[in-house]
């Protein structure tokens, strides 16, 4: 009897201390959640997704993303939510827009220039 009581106490204390459990309506939503938390950067860490972080703000953001998924938000809307609050650097892959053209296409343009110079020189 004593042993049974001890085991039950241990079990209860374990469950009450376990970290956040996220519940979803469907398997698809759950997969979306795990994909999203790997694509959002932890706002407080140097580099790392919120999936890999247990900083208070990351825990909150994960819970918020789970809530937003359950409220029917799309992936794009959820990323926008994070971006509005923590800036565009919160997303791991930068979006393609006028301020990131240099970032995305700069290396290719640079490569073309180098190749042009290379061929130009050989002709002389």
């Amino acid at each position: 009897m004593k042993i049974l009581l001890l085991i039950s106490i241990l079990l209860i204390s374990l469950t009450s201390n376990s970290s956040e459990v996220y519940t979803f309506n469907s398997q698809v939503d759950e997969q979306r959640f795990y994909k999203l938390i790997h694509e959002v950067r932890c706002p407080k860490c140097t580099s790392g997704s919120i999936a890999s972080s247990n900083a208070p703000v990351s825990e909150d953001l994960k819970q918020k993303i789970a809530d937003l998924i359950n409220q029917g938000y799309s992936d794009k809307q959820i990323k926008q939510y994070a971006k509005d609050r923590f800036g565009s650097e919160v997303l791991y892959s930068p979006e393609i827009n006028s301020s990131t053209y240099v970032l995305w296409f700069g290396p290719f343009i640079f490569l073309v220039i180098i190749l042009l110079i290379f061929f130009f020189r050989r002709k002389i």
């Binding site: 706002p43 407080k44 208070p56 703000v57 909150d60 953001l61 609050r85 923590f86 800036g87």
Partner: protein, 174 residues
């Protein structure tokens, strides 16, 4: 043609050095400051001293909202400057972040209370909605619109360089 190419190749590292010299020696570079304007999200939280519900309607037109917690060491360092601001008549208010109510009250009794009101955000819900990543952070709010957001300790230098231009521009705290 060859000399032209040589000139270009020589210019690239020189321009690079100039660029980084310019960026790295910039005096008014404050990575913690953000001047993006956004509305204060709707909230309903408990006010720390009165223990009553508090919404954005109870908030004044001009507020300096400081995110703090009793577990936050930098907040203790910042506290002296906030006391000074409140003595100057700046409406300093608090957002008590992820803190036990008793700890927060004790902290204020021990060190002094510069805050006109204090929102108790135990879960950090309003803080998350406002883009708070930790404590201390400070928001300058006019008519429910955030004009400036600073992450980190506010001191005289930050106040003069980051907040004062916005305060003067918007005719705040007159």
């Amino acid at each position: 043609m060859n000399t032209f190419l040589r000139c270009i190749i020589l210019m690239i590292p020189i321009l690079g050095i100039l660029f980084f010299y310019n960026v790295l020696t910039e005096d008014d570079f404050y990575p913690g400051a953000s001047f993006k304007n956004f509305n204060v999200p709707e909230f309903e939280l408990i006010e720390l001293s009165s223990n009553q519900n508090f919404t954005q309607e109870n908030m004044g037109d001009e507020v300096l909202l400081n995110v703090w917690a009793s577990w936050c060491i930098t907040c203790r360092i910042e506290h002296g400057f906030l006391m000074k601001l409140s003595e100057q008549g700046i409406p300093v208010s608090g957002l008590n972040y992820k803190d036990e109510m008793s700890d927060a009250t004790k902290w204020l009794e021990l060190y002094g209370n510069p805050y006109q009101f204090n929102l108790h955000d135990y879960s950090g819900s309003l803080a998350l909605d406002m883009g708070v990543t930790g404590a201390p952070e400070t928001f300058l709010i006019k008519e429910n619109i955030v004009l400036a957001h600073y992450s980190g300790e506010v001191n005289q230098d930050i106040w003069d360089k980051v907040f004062m231009p916005i305060i003067i521009e918007n005719n705040l705290f007159r």
